[in-house]
């Protein structure tokens, strides 16, 4: 039974494109992007045990790379989409190299600070990035003109990334990383280069965040500077928390759910941050294992 869940979900995901209205298709795309973003963070945070509070920087770099390459450099959209994650990865090499010099809380502080640094740079480099106006009316491939087409594109890219991340999660690389997470000293004594492992997963996660950012740029045809703001970094963390940190499907569900809630709640009230804050506090206090953890607990009973 279990082995059919994934292909079945994939088929459902694709078929959904037929019945969704344009508005629903756009919302569903946003949810998938948020899911991918949370999943990319979970590589670093769930498997690496590294609390990363600057992940939005790479999401933003992915989006801005696409935007700048297509508008300022006149690059073909498809090519720009392929290149963007690699640019995010290059940024991650530099920032990650600095951040993995410290661990645990200090690592979290550093990622936040360097994430904000990129935010400030994008904000200030008006000529290149449009400053606080962002970049609008981005070119996209002609075959992505409708919401439905963009949904299918997003869903396919999402599925490809999901399968890739699933492969990575089962690889010896991630197993070693989990050993580092659970006992860094021991891993080091066994000859694991801890910092290099951490840097590698940091860059990998950043590349997938870059994919999510570029997808966002294609879907909405704009990029805005708060894609890099630290509150955006918190979104995939909250998504992972709600879904369940360390699992594969948890962050996807949590990330998607968060977008769904935001879109639907902001229609009725202006107090979304207040509600989100309260949800966060409640999850931390009452259900730190997230929804996946709750389901597992309920099953065991």
């Amino acid at each position: 039974m279990r082995k059919y869940i994934l292909p079945l979900s994939a088929v459902i995901l694709i078929l959904l494109g037929v019945i969704l209205s344009p508005f629903q298709a756009a919302l569903a795309s946003e949810m998938l992007i948020a899911g991918l973003f949370a999943l990319s963070l979970n590589l670093i945070m769930g498997f690496g045990g590294m609390v990363h509070f600057g992940h939005a920087a790479f999401y933003g770099v992915g989006g801005y790379s696409y935007a700048i390459l297509t508008t300022r450099a006149g690059l073909d959209p498809v090519l720009a989409f392929i290149v963007s994650p690699f640019i995010a990865a290059v940024f991650a090499v530099v920032i990650g190299w600095l951040c993995v010099r410290r661990t645990r809380l200090y690592f979290a502080i550093l990622t936040l600070a360097f994430g904000q640094l990129l935010y400030i740079l994008v904000f200030q480099a008006r000529d290149l990035t449009g400053g606080d106006d962002g970049l609008q009316g981005l070119p996209i491939p002609p075959w992505l003109a409708t919401e439905q087409a963009r949904y299918w594109f997003t869903a396919l890219v999402f599925l490809a990334c999901y399968l890739l991340i699933r492969r990575i999660a089962a690889s010896p690389f991630i197993l070693t990383l989990k050993a580092v997470r659970d006992n860094p000293e021991r891993a080091q004594f066994l000859g694991v280069n801890v910092r290099r492992q951490q840097l590698a997963v940091f860059v990998m996660g950043a590349a997938f965040a870059g994919v999510a950012g570029a997808l966002f740029a294609i879907l909405n045809r704009f990029v805005a500077v708060n894609m890099l703001f630290w509150t955006t970094s918190a979104e995939p963390i909250l998504g992972s928390l709600m879904g369940g940190i360390g699992s594969l499907i948890g962050p996807v569900l949590g990330g998607g759910l968060l977008v769904f809630l935001e879109v639907n709640i902001t229609r009725f009230t202006l107090y979304w941050p207040m509600i989100l804050g309260t949800i966060t506090v409640l999850f931390v206090l009452l259900a730190p294992e997230g929804l996946v953890g709750l389901v597992q607990k309920w099953r065991r009973k």
Binding site: L105, T280, L285
Partner: protein, 295 residues
């Protein structure tokens, strides 16, 4: 560019650094004792600033208004901090870092939204009394009296905190709680009270920083994230848990940003300069200027 201009601008930077130091020392104090990094520290600073503008407006009379705010607003923030510690933080000391960070992040969202609802999105100001709003001549340049006040308050707080921790009974208890809270508890001391008091003191410092910034710059909703990120730069550069390190790092950041705005090459990126300093420190001295290697 004349040397005097650069020197005065550096002095302005030092006075900004004083506010940063006061806020960051609160963050550092709370971390040192409770081992929790409080994202909401910047929100409490913002709260202090907003409360100060309200007290200032309420007391109307300018000279009373500012000093009243300086006295009352940090106490209000400290009180709110004590409530937060007893209601929320107390429950998560044993939890992993991620959950602690997320809880405090949730609080930043709640506090920021509460401030927006209560005060509206307006940009507010705290009016200074005449005594503090003038300028004096230093090196033939104008220098704000208010900045002089900051230059006095900063070191006063540093000395006060140091003295409190080193020479008073309460300070000894705090240091004992840092070394071994269990033994302290076994000796019949209620460590929970110490934690609440330390947390409140840290929040008082955040509130004080908020009032002081309100006397100098406009008060708005983005203050919380700006200061918290700068505080993080301070603790990375200075070394987390070290007051002297925090003081040096705050002054360094204040001066670098202030001088950065002076030169056309760096003017646009002055706000990014602290992070450049931080990156540099990380490469040369990963534990910060005065920090110890982590356990």
């Amino acid at each position: 560019m004349p040397v005097e201009t650069v020197l005065i601008q550096a002095l302005v930077g030092v006075s900004s650094g004083m506010i940063l130091f006061i806020v960051a020392s609160g963050l550092s104090l709370i971390f040192g004792v409770l081992r929790v990094i409080n994202f909401a520290h910047g929100s409490l600073y913002m709260l202090g600033a907003f409360i100060a503008t309200s007290i200032g407006a309420w007391l109307a009379n300018q000279s009373v208004g500012f000093f009243g705010a300086l006295l009352i607003a940090p106490l209000v923030v400290a009180f709110i901090g004590a409530l937060l510690e007893m209601g929320l933080f107390r429950r998560i000391y044993q939890r992993e870092h991620l959950l602690q960070l997320l809880l405090t992040y949730g609080l930043t969202l709640i506090i920021a939204d509460a401030v927006r609802i209560f005060w509206g999105g307006e940009i507010l100001r705290l009016t200074l009394p005449e005594l503090l709003s003038g300028t004096v001549k230093i090196l033939d340049r104008r220098f704000a009296v208010y900045n002089l006040l900051l230059l006095v308050i900063g070191p006063a707080i540093a000395i006060g905190l140091g003295g409190l921790l080193r020479y008073t009974r309460w300070g000894r208890l705090i240091r004992a709680a840092v070394d071994n809270a269990e033994v302290l508890g076994a000796l019949g001391i209620d460590t929970r009270q110490i934690y609440t008091a330390v947390f409140a003191l840290g929040c008082w410092l955040a509130g004080l920083g908020g009032v002081l910034i309100a006397g100098r710059a406009s008060v708005s909703l983005q203050m919380d994230s700006e200061i918290i990120v700068q505080c993080f730069a301070v603790v990375v550069i200075g070394g987390l848990g070290s007051f002297t390190g925090a003081l040096i790092a705050s002054i360094l950041i204040g001066v670098v940003v202030s001088l950065g705005t002076l030169f056309p090459v760096t003017a646009g990126f002055a706000q990014a300069l602290p992070f450049a300093v931080m990156a540099l420190i990380l490469v040369v001295r990963p534990w910060g200027l005065l920090g110890k290697a982590e356990r």
